[in-house]
Symmetry: C2
Subunit: 271 residues, 2 copies
Amino acid sequence: MDDKDLLDRLRVSGDPDLSSHDPSETFGWERDEAEAMFADELAELIELQEKLFAAKSASLLVVLQAMDAAGKDSTIRAVMSGLNPAGVDVQPFGVPTEEESGHDYLWRVHAHAPEDGYITVFNRSHYEDVLVVRVKSFAPEKVWKRRYEHIRNFEQMLVDEGTHVVKIFLNVSKDKQKERFEERLERPDKRWKFRAGDLDDRALWDEYMDAYTEAMQKTSTDDAPWYVVPADRKWARNVCIARILRHHLERIDPKYPEPDAEIDFDDITVT
Amino acid sequence: MDDKDLLDRLRVSGDPDLSSHDPSETFGWERDEAEAMFADELAELIELQEKLFAAKSASLLVVLQAMDAAGKDSTIRAVMSGLNPAGVDVQPFGVPTEEESGHDYLWRVHAHAPEDGYITVFNRSHYEDVLVVRVKSFAPEKVWKRRYEHIRNFEQMLVDEGTHVVKIFLNVSKDKQKERFEERLERPDKRWKFRAGDLDDRALWDEYMDAYTEAMQKTSTDDAPWYVVPADRKWARNVCIARILRHHLERIDPKYPEPDAEIDFDDITVT
């Protein structure tokens, strides 16, 4: 499957209809094949990031959202750890602090928007303010409903001013989440990842899927698209994410700056 | 002139038509009378701010914009210094730093948006990105033109999330600016306020007035209005600004929090 077909299948336009996205989709790849593809993709990402960082003329914001155990942390480790960490900023957003709650919900995320040259990954984001806030009724409907428009406007402003915005929903199945939760409960070295609240969120699975569906439908735009990435198989997930990032870095098309024209490079001797 | 008439005269809706706003307007007040009125207004502002700070349920953002020597600093000193500084944040915006320039132009201002309970005054603001940036061609027209919409959306988001937004243009006359510049040049203790670039901006007076006019026309909304305040006479200016702030604090209508219902206040002895 070529890049364009794959991206077209993953990209959300209009109603994302999660029932049509199989979390265990593999796009016909075998595991070995996918791992080799991923290695090639990573090499290209490394080259593109180097240019982005040198050019300092644009930036890339990657928003990662998912249910628990869908693999947000593992995605970041797999895809980002090959890149130059000097140009990557991974920013997690947890329960808001008192100071954060005293401001509008975009305040804390805007503060971490990437600087020119950088790739910033949001591990959770402002989308929690139309997801958990909606599902758990932390704010009235009137409040979270108008946030879709705020978010569209906010991201459009970032795009207009030079930040490319990509949003990825890691689409894990409810069965796979169960399997991963059970692994976390059984293995002492994984128990630290399990929170009591994880089961509360799992019990609200359908409500979360409705909230994700509406959030993606209302905020996926040409300039700041959502992608639904199948997350049950990590090796397929990694290929999808690397391709999405490569596509957006290629759209930025960063170039190394021109060398200083005043310097005669052939005539320099370093002593 | 009652509050409503005064505010209606100052508030911008549609084309502000600066030629209809006399910078030396006094609204029929004598100086002594205006100073007494201002003292009364300040007492009310102090009371309202105390409640705002205790309630911590909303905040007030005051954007101050003007040509040089229009009296931004003197306004802040006169109007804000009576308030409890624990709840006031005065934030000046100068030439962007390298880090600020590497982000969208709203990044640095959003970072200083007020927390619930606070009054924040922006001494210059994101409006410079459609004023000086336009007049001096620091960005192409295509870039600054779309910022009006960003700014409307950004301020509307702040309002939706609990920040009241008031924008004030200190309308000084070109003659009064000349007089104040000359005073700065003549008096050794005032020379520090004079920058060489001040005369460059003065030479572009008409271009700045066009830029202010369009900025106010495009971004004055019911929820985040612009006011044009006559600034040639400080005593008239102070009354206008205090009334504007009082009006918006009264719209917030902050209340002291309810006392703890668990406590029987009549039955407490402090030993």
